[in-house]
């Protein structure tokens, strides 16, 4: 009996699986529009969705690969909602969109400023989009970036992803997947931030190239922008990046410091109805370049002096960034409000109910410690 049941079940499985029958539709690869980058703009009450998709109709044919005309194609779809615009993809391309491979989502600056929650709801809710797709704001229209000509067989999605990944080495841009952006945007007191990018002409190749202008900050009612230098302060405070470069002027010459390691600790205390933040940053640097007039070397006291100047410079940048964005403009990109809430939720709730902002109640003690680890291939000179 058992053998009979087993045999029947095996036959049923084989019949079902080998015939691929049933309601699971098999979609061939060339029936898919593999999306690399998505751009969103809202104009005249309608969403314009620009899609860069792999040209899978030519893929796998003789004209495919690097000999093909273009690796990717750009499409523009329009709709009252993003979902409606996305639905028209199949109508126009004859292919089923595959969002899970999309690398980057770009939102036009005006759209991000005025319709952020509308524009992002599709990506928060729709099953097929990835949780970790990168997000950036375009300085202008998103369509200009997604449809830019970066060169033959170059995918805008890949180029953009690579450009944003440079944060690891430069420290002057941020790297924000959509879940992090939404986490900030959905919080009651926070401001969401992501890279602000544009495209410019490369005068040698005559093609377009990406430029990261800094960081776009989208608040509940307003927006602002951080310069690359301010972005570096942001990434240092938030421990978002460990690397980067900085230049300092000394009496003996100009010095470039390469940040090897950076870590910040923020201690929060509530003292006399004030939130006191002790920000302690430790940075380890190398000196890859020291420009002097006479090839003069560096002594131990020189490196100590350089470290002191660098620490002072960074303290000033961090202090100025906090003052401008948190205290003056009330954009909590550093998560100070969340720290207050974690430290003393009663104090936090009391002030939030009053509709008060925490920026006026906050005091900052900033200290930066810079240590020079290496001075390059040149030996340390005697004092």
């Amino acid at each position: 009996m058992k053998k009979a049941v087993s045999t029947i079940l095996i036959i049923v499985f084989l019949l079902l699986t080998l015939n691929s029958c049933g309601e699971i539709e098999i979609v061939e690869l060339n029936e898919r529009l593999i999306i690399e980058a998505i751009g969103i703009d809202k104009e005249n009450g309608k969403y314009n969705v620009t899609i860069e998709g792999l040209d899978s109709f030519t893929a796998g044919t003789d004209s495919s690969n690097i000999s093909g005309e273009q690796l990717t194609k750009c499409y523009l779809f329009e709709g009252e909602t993003i979902g409606m615009a996305m639905n028209s993809i199949s109508v126009i391309t004859g292919q089923i969109p595959l969002f899970s491979q999309a690398r980057i989502l770009i939102i036009g600056k005006d759209t991000a400023k005025n319709y952020l929650s509308e524009a992002l709801d599709f990506f928060r809710r729709e099953y097929t989009t990835r949780t970790d797709i990168l997000i950036a704001v375009a300085d202008g229209k998103a369509s200009d970036i997604v449809s830019a000509d970066f060169g033959k067989n170059v995918s805008a999605g890949k180029i953009l992803e690579a450009a944003l990944s440079s944060y690891k080495y430069t420290g002057i841009s941020v790297y924000i997947p959509i879940y992090k952006f939404l986490n900030n945007a959905m919080n009651e007191s926070d401001a969401a931030y992501c890279p602000l990018i544009t495209v410019k002409d490369n005068e040698y190749t005559k093609k377009k190239e990406i430029e990261i202008l800094g960081t776009a900050v989208i608040g509940k009612n307003s927006d602002t922008m951080l310069s690359p230098e301010q972005t570096q302060a942001l990434t240092i405070i938030n421990n978002d990046s460990e690397n980067g470069d900085m230049t300092i002027d000394t009496t003996k010459g100009k010095c470039t410091l390469e940040i090897i390691d950076s870590s910040s600790r923020i201690k929060t205390e509530i003292i006399n109805e004030k939130a006191v933040f002790d920000i302690k940053t430790k940075i380890k640097c190398d000196i890859p370049e020291f420009q002097s007039e006479t090839f003069s070397g560096l002594t131990k006291s020189d490196t100590e002096k350089i470290a002191q100047i660098a620490a002072k410079q960074l303290t000033n940048i961090i202090s100025a960034t906090i003052t401008e964005f948190y205290i003056n403009k009330n954009f909590d990109i550093f998560n100070f409000d969340r720290r207050i809430n974690l430290k003393d939720s009663i104090f936090y709730s009391k002030h939030l109910e009053k509709g008060g902002n925490f920026n006026s109640l906050s005091v900052f003690n900033i200290s930066v410690e810079v240590s020079v680890r290496r001075i390059g291939k040149v030996i340390l000179e005697k004092e």
Partner: protein
Amino acid sequence: MNRLGKISTFQMFAVLLLSRIIALFTFMLPSTSYLPSGDRIITVIPVIIIELVFTAIVIFSLKNCGNKNIISAASDISSVLGKAVSVAYALCFIWFAGIAVSRFELFISTVMFPNSELYLMTVILLSAAFYASLKGPEAIGRASTILSVLLGLSIIFILISVTDEFEFTNLKPILTQGLTPILRFSFYISTRTVELITILVIAPIIKGNIKRMTASWVVFFGALTMVILFVLAGVTGEYGDDQIFPLYTLTVIAKFGIFERLDDILTGLWVLCAFIQVSFLIFLSYFSLKQSYKKAKKIPVSFICTSGVFAVYLTTSQTVTSFSEIIGSFAQDILFIVLISVLPLLITAINFIRKRKSA
């Protein structure tokens, strides 16, 4: 009874772990979003306490039944009562298995085959579960042991992979809304732990110390849940609060070197977990009926139970997302409490009185 095979406490632990983990983490109930993440994490503590109380009741009832399960104990009082109790437990297992299949279908049709209704896949899953249930608890237990090792390693790997994304500022303070919502939610979670009810029925075929196994399972699973919820809150913050498949969301974020699609690996394991859970519940529904209906044939009765699971799935699959809101929590709470405490304690009390009278 021996023809059905025995299951060791270790294997039973693995079966319960897999069943619970898929029930809790592949479908976060809508009500959870009303609790801040900090409160959600500490909810685990009252859940453990409530479940340990239920465990104590289960163990107390089993101890007073001798080497029998609760259905046999009811049959000792009256064969009609025995039959009624066996049907009640069988229906309970069929119900929970049906809900599990509905949730599994929702999960698969969301992350693997979006926007599809997967009757065929469900039929295949149920056919496989039906076949596995015929093999008995030992086979299910052995498969669970291997699978729980794989799943455990995957979860550890994923948790380690996302440590870089962890930010303390994403956490929320606890008890900001008082104790009431936490206790209410703890009760809500605890009264859906069908795994504890299974102990009342399967006890006679478990080899080893049931009390230690059940208590350690409750504590271990609670601790594991706490760690997962803590990491989820620290990594995703507000975004994670309204995710219907929280552990899956975490796996999407997890990256390890060139391995960027850890979610795909785990999706395969979820399928196997669902298979274990449904097989185990189908077996138990047959086993419950077998206790009172001695002539019940294994294959036809198991087939009827599997059909029952499919019927529950068909009824609930269209509204599974909002199901707990539709039928109301109260009815399910009462049903659970009756099956895990009222009925066993009543049967134990009657048996105790009868013994004293006869003595």
